[in-house]
């Protein structure tokens, strides 16, 4: 995805950082087990977040495993990892998302890299699709709807970011069970946030290239930065609100660190950079 859903390491203890690492390594291992080495490059922090969230929510309900094993990146010493059923789910989503993203890059930009990845991940995607047809179908539908809005130059922020929000809502809704409403809400609002943060970050570049960006007109209005900050806060407030309703105990500190602090790191970096540029 976009790599914005990261932890704020500076605010985490060593022990908490280690727990994040074991969840990350656990996801990597399961991707490898299900999809082989080719799937490993799809590993992302965003899906590590979902892995942490679902494993925490379903703690004790699903079989969990952990271990200390060798790893291609760590030939000496090995790594500690932990995983549970939701980790396999996240592993499948990883490859599926990368596949559809690559497919779009080839279709829209004729990117050879996109074509390469698409071919590489076809088999993996088919496996994931057979296990999670609802989610994979939603990825395709939402990305198509988004492409439609982008092609028409839409600046309706709710509609445009809502496509990505709906996509994430479907992915976060792991089992369509009792926790479905809260998980969908977390996914929906986080998805909107991610999409708009990406647009906010890429605005100058998109303006230069004449590429689509839903914030083009808004950025010329007075109070643009303040308004964007408010929008981000509103979305994350909704996301956090739904999260607080879930009975997450294990790794709740990591999840809160991400939702209250980590997701702002990119935004803070950009505003600090802009402020430095404005200085004489």
């Amino acid at each position: 995805m976009f790599g914005y859903v990261v932890p704020n390491q500076a605010a985490l203890s060593d022990e908490a950082q280690k727990r994040y690492r074991t969840a990350y390594c656990g996801l990597c291992r399961r991707i490898d087990a299900l999809h082989g080495l080719r799937g490993r490059f799809t590993l992302s922090y965003d899906l590590t977040f979902l892995n942490l969230l679902l494993c925490s929510l379903y703690e004790g309900e699903t079989e969990a495993s952990s271990g200390h094993d060798r790893c291609p990146i760590h030939p000496l010493g090995g790594v500690e990892w932990r995983a549970a059923s939701p980790t396999d789910y996240c592993a499948d989503l990883s490859v599926a998302l990368h596949y559809y993203n690559a497919e779009d890059k080839w279709k829209d930009d004729r990117s050879l890299l996109g074509l390469g990845y698409e071919k590489l991940l076809t088999g993996c995607k088919q496996d994931a699709e057979s296990r999670w047809p609802r989610q994979c179908s939603a990825i395709r539908t939402c990305l198509d709807r988004l492409a439609g809005y982008e092609a028409s130059g839409s600046e309706d922020l709710d509609a445009v970011s809502g496509c990505f929000g709906a996509l994430m809502a479907e992915l976060f809704d792991y089992r369509q069970d009792h926790w479905s409403p809260e998980l969908r809400s977390i996914g929906f609002h986080l998805g909107k946030f991610i999409y708009l943060l990406d647009a906010y970050d890429d605005l100058k570049r998109d303006q230069r290239k004449g590429a689509y960006n839903p914030l083009k007109s808004l950025s010329t209005q007075p109070g643009y930065e303040e308004e964007m900050k408010e929008i981000f806060e509103l979305l994350l407030a909704q996301c956090a609100h739904s999260f607080e309703r879930l009975p997450c105990v294990e790794d709740a500190d990591l999840l809160r660190n991400i939702l209250y602090s980590g997701v702002w790191l990119k935004y803070n970096c950009k505003t600090a950079k802009d402020a430095r540029k404005r200085q004489p």
Partner: protein
């Protein structure tokens, strides 16, 4: 139903964390997959889930009233919408208001408006054009899609238009549009207290979120605001096991 606090084994004054931990403990005790030979496990498990819901939604006593009155959720299978969009949100208006477990202050003065707001907000104005009046009536009666249609068909966009548009968008679950419209209304008519209060209500969840943030954010030096460094540091931690490679900021 049994007293939910009794089901979870917590006192009435238990903190959110205690309630969650108690739920987890009961969950492990009664989950059907962990009790394959116990036919009552499923029933007990559902009771535990219902008890957790009741406590987090504040339906724990005679004052509970309509448990879903101010908690609407118009997305997915468990929709509580009654007549189309009446009193409901098209999108994720859902978790805006419920009493009880409400750390973000959504319940009072924000979500609570979902039912009563239509009548309280959008005050009558004698200077409204016929179309504006129609839009206002739709908003007041919770018919947000129709309000949206009328508003979109109008050419003049004054503060009043933006205010009603914000209410309509809010009803339809278009939060960002609603917030933007609310800001426009205040910009165009800064002395209007009704528009100011509406905007403040929309900003309320953000304020509560910011307060909670102070626990988790930590101001850093200049290097902390370099995104590449942050990612590099994170990658090193994740992929290098944290030994010897960490860049301390």
């Amino acid at each position: 139903m049994r007293d939910p606090y009794e089901v979870l084994g917590v006192s009435r004054g238990a903190s959110d964390d205690e309630i969650k931990k108690a739920y987890r403990a009961k969950c492990k005790r009664w989950h059907p997959d962990l009790n394959p030979n116990d036919p009552t496990a499923e029933e007990h498990f559902k009771e535990v889930q219902a008890a957790y819901d009741a406590i987090t939604k504040g339906e724990t006593g005679p004052q509970g009233g309509n448990p879903y009155g101010s908690y609407q959720q118009g997305y997915g299978q468990q929709s509580y919408q009654q007549q189309g969009y009446q009193n409901g949100y098209g999108g994720f208006g859902g978790f805006d208001g419920f009493d009880g477990f409400d750390p973000f202050g959504f319940g009072f003065g924000f979500g609570g408006q979902q039912q009563g707001y239509g009548q309280q907000g959008a005050s009558y104005s004698g200077s409204d054009s016929p179309e504006m009046q129609a839009a206002r009536n739709f908003v007041v009666n919770g018919r947000y899609a129709e309000a949206r249609r009328v508003l979109d068909g109008m050419t003049g966009r004054n503060a009043r238009w933006y205010y009603l548009s914000s209410l309509a968008n809010q009803g339809l679950g278009n939060r960002i549009d609603a917030l933007q419209d609310a800001r426009r209304a205040v910009q165009l008519d800064p002395n209007n207290t009704e528009y100011q209060m509406h905007l403040r209500r929309m900003q309320n969840p953000g304020q509560t979120y910011r307060t909670t943030q102070t626990t988790y954010a930590r101001p850093g030096g200049l290097t902390q605001w370099c995104w590449s460094m942050i990612l590099l540091n994170l990658l090193c931690n994740c992929c290098c096991g944290g030994w010897g490679f960490r860049f301390r900021m």
